[in-house]
C-alpha cells in the first residue's frame, strides 16, 4: 500500500503542477483574479504531496520492503539504519524523486515567503516553476518510477555500493540537489521577469537571496564532496577533474557569476540582460550536471545508447527548457531597457571582469568535460584529465584571484585608478614577499602554478579584509562581513591547494610488523594487522603508532575492508590532523613474504582547502542573513506606507 500511495501522491502532484501552470498563465495574461487566488494554495499542495511521496519512499527503504524493485536493487536488510535511510536517494529513481521534492519545496517557499517581487512576476515565476516541475514529474513517472513493484518479491536486496556507505553520502547529494534546484528558482525568476518585462533593481533584490541560497548549498556540497573523495577513495587527492565533479563545479561557477551580477543589478540597476542570461545558463548547467550523472553517459556513450529513454528524456527536457528560455530571451531582450552606465574604472567593471573570467572558466570546464563524449561518438577514445584542466584552469583562476585583490576595493560607478592602486599596495607587497620567500625556500622543487597560487593567496588574504579598514566594525553591515569572509575563504582554500600540490611528501613501502617508517618528520611504527568485522563488512585493520619529535604516540588504524553485499573491497584511510597539515595512511596488500604495503603522505595545510570552502559558504550565509534582514525591514516600511490587497494592476 505504501508504494501505491506514494505513486498516487506523485501523479496528483503532477496534475497540480499542470493546474498551477494554467492558473499562473491565466493570472499573468488575462489578469484573472479567481485564478490568482488559487495559484499559491496549489503550489503548497503540490509541495506537500511530493514531500509525502518522498517520505513514503524512505519508509519503504527503512522497512526493507523487497517487493519494491528499487529497494531490492539498492538496499539490503542487513544494512545499517543510516544507510537504509540515505540509500533512498543513493540511486537513480530516488535521487530524481529527491529532485522534484526539493523543486516543489522551492515552489512552496516562493509561494509563502517571496514578498519583494512584483506581483505579476511572482505569478509568472510560479508558473515557470510549475512548468519545469511538470517535465521532471513526467520523467519520473514515465521512465524512472521509484515505486514500481517486484513480483515475486526478492528474498533480500542487492545492497548499496560500499563506497557510498559513508556518512558523507547521507548529506552530500541532497546538499547538491538543493543547490541545483535552487538555480531553477533563479531561472524561473528570469523567465517570469522576461514575461512581464520587469527586469530592474527590485527584481534583482528579490532574486538575490534565492541565488545565494542555491550557491551556499552548492559550495557546501562541493566542499563536502571533495573531502569525501579525499578520505574515502584512499588516493590522497581532493579533486580529480572527474566528470561527476565537474558536473557540480559548473553550476557553482555559473551561480558565483550570477550572484555577483545580480548584486550589480540590485545596487546599480546595470547588467540587466546579462543577469537574465546568466540565470538561464546557471540552470542549464544544473541540468547538464544532472544529465551527465544520471544518463549513464559517463560510463560510456554505449551505456547511454543501451538505455536511451532516461538520457534522451533528460536531454529533451534540457533542450526544451533552455531552448525555450533562450528563445524568450531573444524575443524579449530588446524590450528590456538598458541599465545605468558606469565608468571603465568602477566596481561594476570589476564585476563584469569577474563574470567574464568565471564564464571563461566555466566554458573551459564544459568543453573539457564534454570533449571525450564527443570524440567517443566518433569512435576515438580520449580522456581529458588533470593535465588539461590544471594547465588551462590554473592561469585563469590566478587571474580571477588577481582581480579579487583589486575588485572589492573599487567604488561603484566611478573610481580613480591611482587611489585604487594605492589601496592595494599592502596586498601586493605581501604577495611579493611570499613569492620571494617561497621561491628561496623551495627553490626549483615548486612548480610555477603552486608558487603563484601561494602568492595570490597571500595577496587575496590581505586584500579581502581591506574593505573593513577604516570602518566602524560594529556598524559594518552583515553582508559586507559576508563578502570579506567569503573572499578570505578563497585565499585560504587556494593556499591549501597550492601547499598540498607543492609540498606533499609521499612514501610507499612494504614492511613487516614492527618496522618504523619516517615521513616528513613523523615516525610511524607499524605494529601489526588484525582482522575485524563490522555490521556488513570484514576488514584487516592495521595499528600504527605515530609520533613526532619523540612525543607521545597517537594510534592510527587504516583498514582494508571487504563488503559482502555487493562483494566489494574498499580502502579506509586513516588521517591525523595537525594544525599544519594532515598525515594520511593507507594499508595496502599483504605480500607472500609477510610484508604489508603501506602508503604514507604528509600533506601540509591540506585542511585549508575545505576550511576555505567552509569560510566561503559562511560568507554566503552572512550575506544572505544580512540581505534578508535589510529586505525585511524595507518590506515592513513599505507595508506601513501602502497597505493593500494582493491585487494585480
Amino acid at each position: 500500500m505504501i508504494a501505491e500511495t506514494g505513486l498516487a501522491a506523485l501523479w496528483l502532484a503532477a496534475v497540480l503542477a499542470g493546474l498551477q501552470l494554467v492558473l499562473a498563465w491565466l493570472t499573468v495574461s488575462r489578469g484573472d483574479q479567481n485564478a490568482a487566488r488559487l495559484v499559491r494554495p496549489v503550489a503548497l499542495a503540490q509541495g506537500a504531496l511530493t514531500a509525502l511521496a518522498f517520505a513514503l519512499l524512505i519508509a519503504l527503504f527503512l522497512r526493507s520492503d523487497m517487493s519494491v524493485v528499487l529497494v531490492a536493487a539498492n538496499s539490503h536488510s542487513m544494512k545499517p539504519f543510516i544507510y537504509k535511510f540515505a540509500g533512498a536517494w543513493g540511486n537513480h529513481e530516488g535521487s530524481m524523486l529527491l529532485w522534484v521534492t526539493v523543486m516543489s519545496a522551492a515552489g512552496m517557499a516562493i509561494a509563502l515567503f517571496e514578498r519583494g517581487l512584483d506581483k505579476a512576476t511572482h505569478y509568472a515565476t510560479l508558473g515557470s516553476q510549475a512548468a519545469i516541475s511538470l517535465g521532471f514529474y513526467a520523467f519520473l513517472l514515465f521512465s524512472s518510477n521509484p515505486f514500481a513493484r517486484l513480483d515475486p518479491p526478492a528474498a533480500d536486496g542487492q545492497g548499496l555500493n560500499p563506497l557510498l556507505q559513508d556518512p558523507g553520502l547521507a548529506f552530500h547529494p541532497p546538499t547538491l540537489y538543493f543547490g541545483y534546484v535552487g538555480l531553477s528558482v533563479a531561472f524561473s525568476f528570469a523567465v517570469g521577469a522576461l514575461l512581464t518585462r520587469k527586469v530592474d533593481a527590485s527584481f534583482a533584490r528579490a532574486m538575490r537571496p534565492w541565488v545565494l541560497i542555491a550557491w551556499i548549498f552548492l559550495t557546501v556540497g562541493i566542499t563536502a564532496g571533495s573531502y569525501w573523495a579525499y578520505y574515502e577513495l584512499g588516493w590522497g587527492g581532493w579533486w580529480f577533474w572527474d566528470p561527476t565533479e565537474n558536473a557540480s563545479l559548473m553550476p557553482w561557477l555559473a551561480a558565483t557569476a550570477l550572484f555577483h551580477s545580480v548584486s550589480v543589478l540590485a545596487a546599480r540597476d546595470a547588467l540587466r540582460a546579462w543577469t537574465i542570461m546568466l540565470s538561464v545558463v546557471a540552470f542549464a548547467m544544473s541540468m547538464v550536471g544532472t544529465f551527465l550523472v544520471r544518463s549513464g553517459i559517463l560510463t560510456s556513450v554505449h551505456a547511454f545508447a543501451v538505455d536511451p529513454t532516461r538520457g534522451g528524456f533528460l536531454l529533451a527536457l534540457l533542450g526544451f527548457y533552455i531552448g525555450g528560455a533562450l528563445l524568450l530571451f531573444a524575443l524579449r531582450i530588446g524590450t528590456v531597457n538598458e541599465g545605468r552606465r558606469f565608468d571603465p574604472v568602477s566596481r561594476e567593471t570589476m564585476l563584469v571582469l569577474n563574470n567574464l573570467l568565471l564564464s571563461v572558466i566555466l566554458g573551459l570546464v564544459l568543453v573539457g568535460t564534454l570533449y571525450p563524449l564527443l570524440t567517443e561518438m566518433m569512435g576515438v577514445k580520449v580522456s581529458v584529465g588533470p593535465p588539461y584542466f590544471n594547465m588551462i584552469i590554473g592561469p585563469f583562476t590566478l587571474l580571477l584571484m588577481a582581480l579579487l585583490v583589486i575588485g572589492p576595493l573599487a567604488r561603484w560607478r566611478r573610481d580613480d585608478l591611482k587611489g585604487l592602486l594605492r589601496k592595494i599596495i599592502p596586498a601586493v607587497a605581501l604577495a611579493v614577499v611570499v613569492l620571494v620567500a617561497v621561491k628561496v625556500v623551495a627553490g626549483s622543487q615548486i612548480g610555477i602554478l603552486p608558487l603563484l597560487g601561494l602568492t595570490a593567496a597571500a595577496g587575496v588574504a590581505i586584500a579581502s579584509v581591506m574593505p573593513l579598514v577604516g570602518r566602524n566594525l560594529r556598524r559594518t553591515p552583515l553582508f559586507t562581513w559576508g563578502m570579506v569572509i567569503a573572499h578570505l575563504g578563497c585565499a585560504v582554500s587556494l593556499a591549501g591547494m597550492a601547499s598540498d600540490t607543492a609540498f606533499t611528501t609521499e612514501k610507499l613501502v612494504a614492511v613487516r610488523p614492527g618496522a618504523k617508517v619516517d615521513v616528513a618528520g613523523w615516525q610511524v611504527e607499524f605494529r601489526g594487522v588484525l582482522p575485524i568485522a563490522g555490521p556488513n563488512w570484514t576488514a584487516m585493520e592495521a595499528t600504527m603508532a605515530v609520533s613526532k619529535g619523540g612525543g607521545a604516540p597517537t594510534i592510527m588504524r587504516p583498514q582494508a575492508r571487504f563488503f559482502s553485499n555487493p562483494p566489494t573491497p574498499t580502502t579506509e584511510s586513516a588521517q591525523l590532523t595537525a594544525w599544519n597539515g594532515q598525515l594520511y595512511l593507507v594499508l595496502g596488500d599483504e605480500l607472500e613474504d609477510g610484508r604489508w604495503q603501506l602508503r604514507l603522505w604528509w600533506k601540509p595545510f591540506v585542511t585549508f582547502i575545505w576550511a576555505g570552502g567552509g569560510l566561503i559558504a559562511l560568507g554566503g550565509l552572512l550575506a544572505l542573513v544580512g540581505r534578508l534582514g535589510r529586505g525585511w525591514i524595507r518590506g515592513r516600511a513599505r507595508a506601513r506606507n501602502a497597505p493593500g490587497d494582493e491585487v494585480l494592476a
Binding site: W274, A303, T335, V360, I392
Partner: protein, 160 residues
C-alpha cells in the same frame, strides 16, 4: 499579451557601453574556445590498446591511457614490494608495463586494466595510475565488453 514596445532611445554612449560589453563577452568566449581546443590537442590522453600503441609508435613521455588484459603468468612483484611488472595484451600485441603503488583490489592476471602514464625510452609503459574493475559491477568505460581467455591469451570483443 501586451504589444511589444520598442526600447526608449538613450544616449549614444550607453549604446556603446552595451556593445562593448557584448563584444568583450563574445571575444572572451571565442578566445576560451580556441584555447581549449589547442590545449585539448596537446593534453587529451588518447586511449590505446597495446597493438594500437605499437602501430602508432607513441612517442616516449606522452601521456596516454593504455588498456588491455593482464597476461596470465606475467604479473611479477619487485623486491621492494610495491612495484609490479606485467604484460598488457589485446590479443594482437603485448606491451610490458610497470607500476609503483598499491594496485586496485581487482587488478589481477587475466583481468582488464587501464594504465595511465607514458612509455619510457626502452618501450616499457610506466603507469602512474591503474584503473581496474572497481567492484563487481563497474568496469572502466574503455574496457566494456572485452573478455580474455587465460589459456590461449585470446582477447575478444563481445558485440553490443
Amino acid at each position: 499579451m501586451a504589444v511589444v514596445v520598442p526600447p526608449a532611445r538613450k544616449g549614444l554612449k550607453s549604446k556603446h557601453q552595451r556593445l562593448i560589453l557584448i563584444l568583450l563577452a563574445v571575444g572572451a568566449m571565442i578566445a576560451a574556445a580556441l584555447l581549449a581546443m589547442s590545449a585539448l590537442k596537446d593534453q587529451a590522453a588518447y586511449f590505446y590498446t597495446p597493438s594500437e600503441a605499437v602501430a602508432a609508435k607513441v612517442e616516449p613521455g606522452r601521456a596516454i591511457r593504455l588498456g588491455g588484459m593482464v597476461v596470465a603468468g606475467s604479473l611479477k612483484r619487485e623486491a621492494d614490494g610495491v612495484t609490479v611488472r606485467f604484460l598488457l595484451t589485446d590479443g594482437k600485441a603485448q606491451v610490458p608495463a610497470t607500476y609503483s603503488g598499491i594496485t586496485p583490489d581487482l587488478f589481477r592476471e587475466g583481468s582488464g586494466a587501464i594504465g595511465e602514464g607514458s612509455f619510457d625510452a626502452s618501450g616499457t609503459f610506466r603507469a602512474t595510475e591503474i584503473l581496474a574493475k572497481h567492484d563487481e559491477r563497474y568496469m572502466p568505460r574503455e574496457m566494456e565488453g572485452i573478455s580474455y581467455d587465460a589459456k590461449t591469451h585470446k582477447v575478444e570483443k563481445t558485440a553490443r
